[in-house]
């Protein structure tokens, strides 16, 4: 029976889940916006970052969030290198399709490497506050979920400010809106694309650390994430960060609430139903088009 308190509890959980989805999907939509790259390996990088957070905690006993000091710059550099060395070599005419194959291969390499280094054993970061929760209007809010949500909100805000307030952000948006015009006014679009990719991967570093706080991680976990994340960015409008954030929130809440009447299996299909509906009704996504270019 669905009582008022269960509904409210599920709503709160849905909002927290939506926040995490928004953070994890932000990078994915950025790659597509900047370079028309479908980055299948994004979730694999998330899991990689989660493993690094776990490793740092395991080895040094420090909070996994501190791993961000190292992983964010590291992932940014890796992203720039990835774009310069691999993505930029793809022919512009077929980059979207070929990037699927290329990044699929990268995902497999990361999964294999994680299995080799850390074994297939499932790992979980064990914190003194793992099971702690606070009460908000009668709903229990787990501290780790709140931290992950806060991290997501901060990262998205930082990303938004960077894109709207800095010269690099302007150059990146110009590159997204009209690459040729951007080149004409003197923007080095190749360099910008590299930094854009780095930025996307840096969000994966943050997302991975957030994920590690409240998930059991194992090398093949990324396959369970990439599907819903892809659905989110299509629904949100490829390339639109606010679109991805709104779609993530809406789908996260829907997933959480639909579990009550329909059960988990059907609630999970909400992503794919939303994906089909979007492709049928509005292929550019609900927040794509003009909004995508405004950020």
């Amino acid at each position: 029976m669905v009582t008022g308190s269960l509904f409210f509890q599920s709503l709160v959980l849905g909002i927290l889940l939506g926040g995490l989805y928004a953070l994890l999907a932000a990078g994915l939509t950025l790659y597509f916006g900047v370079m028309r790259v479908v980055m299948i390996a994004h979730a694999a990088f998330l899991v990689l970052a989660a493993y690094l957070a776990w490793d740092v905690h395991q080895r040094f006993g420090i909070d996994p969030l501190l791993s961000l000091i190292v992983t964010v710059p590291l992932f940014f550099l890796a992203g720039v290198g990835f774009q310069r060395l691999l993505i930029s070599r793809l022919r512009p005419a077929t980059v979207t399709m070929m990037s699927v194959l290329l990044t699929f291969a990268v995902a497999l390499v990361i999964e294999g490497m994680l299995g080799f280094v850390y074994s297939g054993t499932q790992r979980r970061v064990q914190l003194s506050y793992s099971a702690a929760s606070i009460q908000v209007f009668g709903a229990q809010v787990a501290v780790v979920k709140l931290i992950a949500f806060g991290l997501a909100a901060l990262s998205l805000l930082a990303l938004f400010l960077l894109l709207t307030r800095s010269r690099f952000g302007q150059a990146l948006r110009a590159t997204i809106q009209h690459p040729q015009a951007a080149r004409l006014i003197g923007i080095d679009t190749d360099k910008v694309a590299g930094y854009g990719f780095g930025l996307g991967l840096a969000t994966a570093a943050v997302g991975g650390a957030a994920l590690s706080l409240d998930s059991t991680i194992y090398p093949s976990l990324h396959w369970h994430w990439i599907g819903p994340l892809m659905a989110i960015i299509v629904v949100g409008g490829l390339g639109s960060i606010p679109g991805a954030a709104i779609a993530a929130m809406v789908l996260g809440i829907m997933q959480s609430l639909l579990q009550l009447p329909m059960g988990t299996t059907w609630a999970q299909t909400v992503f794919y139903l939303a994906l089909f509906a979007t492709l049928l009704v509005r292929p550019q996504g609900f927040f794509g088009g003009r909004l995508a270019q405004r950020f």
Binding site: S119, R124, S130, S133, T216, P219, H224, A267
Partner: protein
């Protein structure tokens, strides 16, 4: 294929009891040459969703092969394992066994891990007329496929795992007995089988089901499931689980402040990583198990010693079931006196139908569909240690109800 079978049949017809040495000219199958090893083909989920238990099964098989080889092998021949990785994928497991049997011409096959992989691979084994002893297909549907070559190498099928617990609950005085129960099971035949076996018995005893949820194996977020269970405030929480889902669910339940009087989860609690993964809040958690390293069966004492020396820690259930598989097949091979493809396989099957085999999980015998005819033990975390609490005859500690808060 036909020519090869005919050759082997001719060979068998031509000799009496010492078939193996007589068949030394049996071609590339290695069907009995004492200088050639007996090759055992296995496909295991070494990567993917089941890699954790899959690797446990691999260690169990390796421990068995090492033990057999150190005592002179099977029928005087060394044993050689050929293990392929099916990536937890049902299509791959079929291709793997096809390759092992038809191309690689292994002498024997052992089963993979998980019901979802055992059923398709069992079909391949049946098609080729191979004996198929398996360590991990415990769900009811495994035994409803019409396999006449399959044997499950553990004490009991999934639906009977909680029998001793159900008996203990039913035997409680009316006032103390739990009134409500919540069930959450992975959409997996084994995991569901364990939970629903108990559900059936508790419902019959008047324990009302207040939550009954099934979630897909790729579920990553358990907070929604936990919210429904916590809201029900059920006395009993039963998880039909594998490893990571049990861990995620327990943490999510704790985050919501839910305190059941009895919490039972299949598979995960017997995993050595489990206490660390849930932050040590294990007290009172119950789990069925087909194996304990402390069991006094003679071959188990030897197994635990050897295994610990080989891998540095005592074996768990996955390793033990794999080792048991080896013991069951070895007993048949020794009794019948052959181990190759063809007619020999049917003789191995026929022998096992009526046999009782002493293993590390106790003496095993099977019904016509391959269901083992024993029972699972019930373990519970008592003072931080996992102890057998039911049935009373083999208990190492007292069954605690209600459990301490987690």
């Amino acid at each position: 294929m036909n020519a090869r079978t005919a050759l082997r049949l001719g060979c068998l017809a031509g000799v009496s009891a010492l078939v193996l040495t007589a068949c030394s000219g049996g071609g590339e199958t290695g069907g009995g040459n004492p200088s050639e090893p007996i090759r055992v083909g296995i496909s295991l989920p070494l990567t993917g969703d089941f890699s954790e238990p899959g690797k446990g099964v691999q260690r169990g098989y390796e421990a068995w092969a090492a033990a057999v080889n150190s005592t002179g092998g099977l029928l005087g021949r060394q044993v050689e394992l050929r293990i392929l990785d099916d990536q937890s994928n049902a299509d791959r497991v079929v291709a793997d066994y096809e390759q092992l049997i038809a191309q690689d011409q292994v002498d024997l096959v052992f089963g993979p891990f998980s019901t979802r992989l055992v059923v398709p691979s069992g079909r391949v084994a049946k098609e080729y007329g191979m004996l198929f002893v398996e360590p991990a297909g415990a769900a009811a549907q495994v035994f409803e496929q019409g396999f006449d070559n399959l044997f499950y190498a553990a004490p009991a099928v999934a639906n009977d795992h909680y029998n001793h617990l159900a008996e203990a609950i039913t035997a409680m005085p009316e006032g103390e007995r739990p009134r409500t129960a919540a069930y959450a099971a992975m959409d997996d035949p084994f995991a569901q089988g364990t939970a629903y076996g108990l559900k059936e018995k508790l419902e019959a005893a008047g324990v009302q089901t207040v939550v009954d949820l099934v979630y897909p194996p790729n579920t990553t977020d358990f907070s929604g499931i936990a919210a429904q269970i916590a809201n029900s405030q059920a006395d009993v929480m039963v998880g039909g689980t594998q490893y990571q889902d049990a861990v995620n669910m327990i943490v999510a339940l704790r985050q919501l402040g839910y305190q059941p009087k009895l919490a039972a989860f299949s598979t995960a609690p017997t995993n050595p990583e489990f206490p660390n993964a849930i932050g040590g809040a294990t007290e009172g958690i119950v789990s069925p198990t087909g194996y304990t390293p402390e069991a006094p069966y003679p071959s188990n004492v030897d197994f635990v010693q050897r295994y610990t020396a080989q891998f540095g820690s005592p074996p768990t259930e996955d390793e033990a079931n794999a080792y048991t598989t080896g013991q069951v097949v070895a007993a048949a091979v020794q009794a019948v006196g052959c181990a190759e493809q063809g007619d020999c396989q049917q003789r191995l099957v026929d022998w096992l139908r009526t046999a009782t085999v002493d293993t590390v999980v106790g003496p095993l015998n099977w019904d016509a569909q391959g269901r083992p005819q024993s029972a699972h033990l019930i373990q519970q975390y008592v003072d931080g240690q996992i102890r057998i609490v039911l049935p009373k005859e083999t208990a190492e500690a007292e069954f605690t109800y209600p459990k301490a808060p987690w």
